[in-house]
Amino acid sequence: MIRIPCPHCGPRDHDEFSYVGDATKVRPADPAATSPEDWHRYVYLRDNPRGAHLEYWHHIQGCRAYLKVLRDTATHEVLASGRPEDALEAPR
């Protein structure tokens, strides 16, 4: 069972959260100047890394806040969590 430390509510069962998506993708800064290929890469193309991965989660049954979570995709260990604007680093 995964527990996710919500920065607002504290550690909670992952049943309370819903997965939102890859948090490494950055929306193109100037939509008008972005090529269709770059839009395609931003909207559709995702890596499938083994190991630490930055993700957005939504604490839907709790405080309703969006979170950023650094999760190991191989072990499901949650390495760090924070608000969406936080830069997360794995603890050493």
């Binding site: 607002h8 509510c9 504290g10 909670r12 069962d13 049943d15 309370e16 839907i60 049954q61 709790g62 405080c63 309703r64 806040a65």
Partner: protein, 203 residues
């Protein structure tokens, strides 16, 4: 033109299933859990923004005499109760006769707060008795031991897969459970099933 009523009178979502009495297998000292419905209670949601939270908190404190609680906490002040339900977001509760919604709106809107009346959308139960924690523990991952969940602690969490707010009230064994109205009968059924082995009273 006829005067338009804003909302029809509120009716409990549990009217059709709430049959007063004792059920299940009571312990030697009576039912392990007593459940009452908190009727006639207004539930008003208050939203601030990060840059207006301090001003909104001051406005609430000045006008209603209640200090907005920190994350994970609830507080009573005067005839009202406030529960933290999210970042810069609280639920305020007060009897319908207190005019809470209008008073809150007048106080916080100039300070940049938003007020939404949720009274028609919530069903609020009060659970007390020696086996309340055992009953709730069957449906939630939250640690409800007083060491971890003391008086005036509140949590938004899952209970029997439903989204609820759990608010620990006075004493060690009294909890208010707020659910969305549409799920009230489902919550009622799950609570009754969970409490049957301890005996429960619908009061």
């Amino acid at each position: 033109m006829a005067e338009i009523m804003t909302l029809p009178p509120r009716r409990s979502a549990l009217d059709s299933v709430w049959v007063l009495g004792d059920y299940g297998i009571p312990g030697p000292s009576g039912p392990g859990v007593t459940i009452i419905r908190r009727l006639g209670l207004g539930a008003i949601q208050l939203d601030a923004r990060r840059d207006t939270a301090a001003a909104v908190a001051r406005a609430v404190s000045d006008s209603l005499g209640i200090a907005l609680p920190a994350p994970g906490r609830a507080a009573s002040g005067g005839e009202f109760r406030a529960i933290w339900i999210g970042p810069e977001r609280w639920m305020l509760l007060g009897s319908d006769s207190t005019g809470l919604e209008a008073r809150l709106r007048a106080a916080v809107e100039p300070a940049g707060g938003s007020v939404i009346d949720q009274s028609h959308g919530r069903a609020i139960l009060r659970l007390s008795g020696p086996r309340v924690r055992d009953t709730l523990a069957k449906g939630t991952g939250i640690d409800l031991h007083p060491r971890a969940f003391a008086e005036n602690t509140a949590a938004q969490t899952g209970l029997f897969h439903l989204s609820v707010t759990i608010d620990r009230r006075r004493g060690t064994g009294t909890f208010d459970v707020h659910a969305m109205r549409g799920f009230a009968q489902s919550l009622h059924e799950s609570l009754c099933e969970a409490a049957a082995e301890f005996g429960y009273r619908l009061a």
